[in-house]
Symmetry: C2
Subunit: 454 residues, 2 copies
């Protein structure tokens, strides 16, 4: 390590004071969500059974900035501001003229960027007098983040964990329980949605969402919390990009391309939105690249239309790229990227050609993560390995073109709970599943009639 990694660290008083809301800068009117009962535009009142009004207001706000409540900033201080690094050792290993930077969100107690939104969601629910939050989790990153946030604010937390993950990832479950959460294997017998799916014992994210929503609707003192997709979730994650803008200024560089993994969109939106605002205002020509698994290629192979957020069709329909709400992606290790749909905001940006999307194979991503661990020293989560692959490919393209290129990517979490996947990769037994177009076509054929989105 003759020329070392360089870190750019902000002082604590630069924890952002306001989130960036891109809705204010988007061209045209945003398409509304639709009520699943009526297929008519859903208003705030349709959401109030499961979300507190403060979050609903954030969801529909067109203010360009939304102040971060002081208790939320105080909780952020546990791990924020997060570091931004220049990956000099990786650059050297790639023999590239590109300069590669990464923002590292794995230093939170839950190990990923997810607490950035779990904290304000727990806070606003507490303020609204709610005593319990329900949610779903796949690989466990989101469930453990909400369990952590609920512990800090004194809320009960009830997590429906996808059955196959519950069985295979007992340690993420233990983590949630250590923070005091109750964890149910989904499908459970606690809900109608769960009982209806007893023939699918391994479960799915869509089924777990249906269960969590069902409980929240039934109880006055209970709300539901979602870890991605929605506007207010992406809003909370913009602390990543706001800090990164200040850190790139410290580094004296301006990113030519910004890369992040995209499942439900909060990882990508978190780093991209503050930079996207500059682009939409004509202040930069930065490219944006959302990378997703080839096993669940929502942005690159899905259709742009209204669809449900969950399997059972309990949630509002959203205008987004989708593979069909009952499409079940093959089991890749990047559980956080196995979602049939995507953020309406990110979907619209891809549709408009403002954001590029690329699908990557699992083995290629792990190869990149291994090279990263051995040069930069950090073992990445499988989700984040997609961003590393994207960044390495851009750096190799820069070498090919003989161009200096400034690359910034979001390293959204560490891989401490994913070593079985690294094990499989190292032993040559990691599967490399591809998406089934036939399954997608079948799932899309089962969708209801909805208004057009174009």
């Amino acid at each position: 390590m003759s020329e070392p990694t360089t870190k750019f660290l902000l002082p604590e008083d630069q924890i952002p004071t306001a989130w960036v809301n891109l809705m204010a800068d988007l061209p045209g009117e945003p398409l509304p969500p639709l009520s699943p009962a009526t297929m008519q535009p859903a208003g705030p009142e349709d959401l109030s059974a499961i979300f507190p009004m403060a979050l609903i207001q954030q969801e529909v706000s067109t203010e360009p900035e939304i102040p971060i409540p002081e208790p939320v900033r105080e909780a952020y201080r546990l791990w924020r501001p997060t570091p931004l690094y220049r990956a000099r050792s990786l650059e050297r290993a790639l023999d590239t003229p590109a300069r590669i930077y990464y923002k590292y969100e794995g230093t939170s107690p839950a190990g990923s960027h997810k607490p950035n939104t779990a904290i304000p969601q727990a806070y606003e629910n507490k303020q609204a007098g709610i005593t319990k939050l329900t949610t779903e989790t796949g690989a466990g990153q989101w469930g453990s983040s909400l369990a952590f946030a609920c512990a800090l604010f004194g809320l009960e937390c009830e997590v429906f964990m996808v059955g196959s993950s519950y069985d295979q990832k007992p340690y993420r479950r233990s983590m949630m329980q250590t923070w005091g959460a109750t964890v149910h294997r989904s499908p459970s017998t606690l809900t109608q949605a769960g009982r209806d799916q007893s023939s699918h014992p391994t479960g799915s994210l869509g089924i777990a969402i249906s269960e969590a929503v069902e409980l929240a609707v039934q109880r006055e003192d209970t709300n539901y919390s979602l870890g991605s997709v929605l506007n207010h979730v992406l809003l909370h994650q913009t602390v990543i990009g706001i800090e990164a803008i200040a850190q790139m200024e410290m580094a004296g560089d301006e990113p030519d391309v910004i890369i992040a993994a995209c499942g439900g969109g909060s990882n990508f939106g978190g780093i991209a939105i503050p930079f996207l605002r500059r682009k939409l205002r004509g202040e930069s020509s930065t490219r944006f690249l959302a990378v997703e698994p080839a096993a669940c290629p929502t942005l690159t192979r899905g259709v742009y239309r209204y669809d449900y957020g969950d399997t059972a069709g309990l949630t509002p329909l959203m205008p987004m790229y989708t593979l069909g709400h009952d499409f079940v992606p093959p089991p890749v290790h990047a559980g956080g990227l196995r979602y049939h749909g995507d953020s309406p905001l990110v979907s619209a940006l891809v549709k408009e050609g403002i954001v590029e999307a690329r699908a990557l194979r699992q083995n290629d991503c792990f190869a990149a993560a291994l090279q990263f661990a051995r040069t930069e020293g950090i073992i990445a989560a499988p989700e984040s390995s997609h961003a590393i692959r994207g960044a390495i490919d851009e750096a190799l393209a820069a070498r090919e073109a003989g161009e200096e290129r400034v690359i910034l990517f979001n390293l959204s979490g560490h891989g401490d709970f994913d070593m079985a996947a690294y094990d499989a990769y190292l032993s040559g037994s990691l599967e490399d599943p591809e998406f089934s177009e036939a399954d997608m076509e079948a799932a899309l054929a089962r969708l209801p009639e909805t208004p057009p989105v174009g």
Copy 2:
């Protein structure tokens, strides 16, 4: 969380520039190690088969400060300076007038304080032309830290992992392999020491040390690396305490008592030594408390005499508290604290009454760790849970006495790889083993005649 946790963060230019060497301030002459072949004082030449001269010079130096090489400081920048927090939520939960601070070392890529010494050890070996390091590891914290450091400096790394841990902790093994290390199950068939112990298939730390040392002695291009006990290891860890002094000044508080877990002594020494120097110089009256597991109570129940560092008797004998070098502690989850001996430096300070020692039960420590996770949000390693228990007990004693008391403890690592232990605690099935005095007496009876230490 009405009154939030407070973090004290240093700017990067306050990564220490020199380690603190307490040898300069200790009363009297330090007792030398003894050669296992002759039982005579061992000189630098006795160590040169397995350590580079730069580390041997650090081991025997009496200079009060030793400069940190710039490439080591640069590598430290990956995660240093580490944060220091005031545990306001925990204080409130305990209803104590005490002010509790903790230094958090779990933000390193390997998840503990161990890279603080792995980095300079890898660096000095690289400088000396060594191409490979061997070492042992129990629970895996040390092995993964050395694997990480070797990846950064381009050294090969060969780890002998205690058999029972190798079987039970596959993910720490995968972590080492991800960083490019070779991991052997110990006892192995690669060494005489391993073959001699084939009747103990679950292995022990002492056996694994014997195997790693044997390989290093045989090969010119290979050295051995130890993660605790020795003076130069404690020296490297003083970056913890040096930073903590600056951070306690930021907080405007002076610790009345400093607490850390003690296995081989590097965790305790790391935070304590810079403060101990002030005490030895008459500049403070801080108390120091080393906490250890009741299952392996070296400082509280061991005898102070010369003993080997390993089971096979290959290492020099050191003057220290010991339970007998072939004593096998019961299997508690704090694998890093299951060592028959202790740092000669810490042992001498306990012997002189400058440092207090206390043995704690495993279940009491996990109860403390759970309370900590649910108030402060961080899930601690089992080793660190001992320091939490110690700090809570001091805070409760302060409440009892109606005293303001300033408590500082070292939270040496996170518990991501120890969730099975939390699981056992939460389900009420965690064992609470005690130490066997009969086993210790038998182990001590097997010790060779050595010169007296008093």
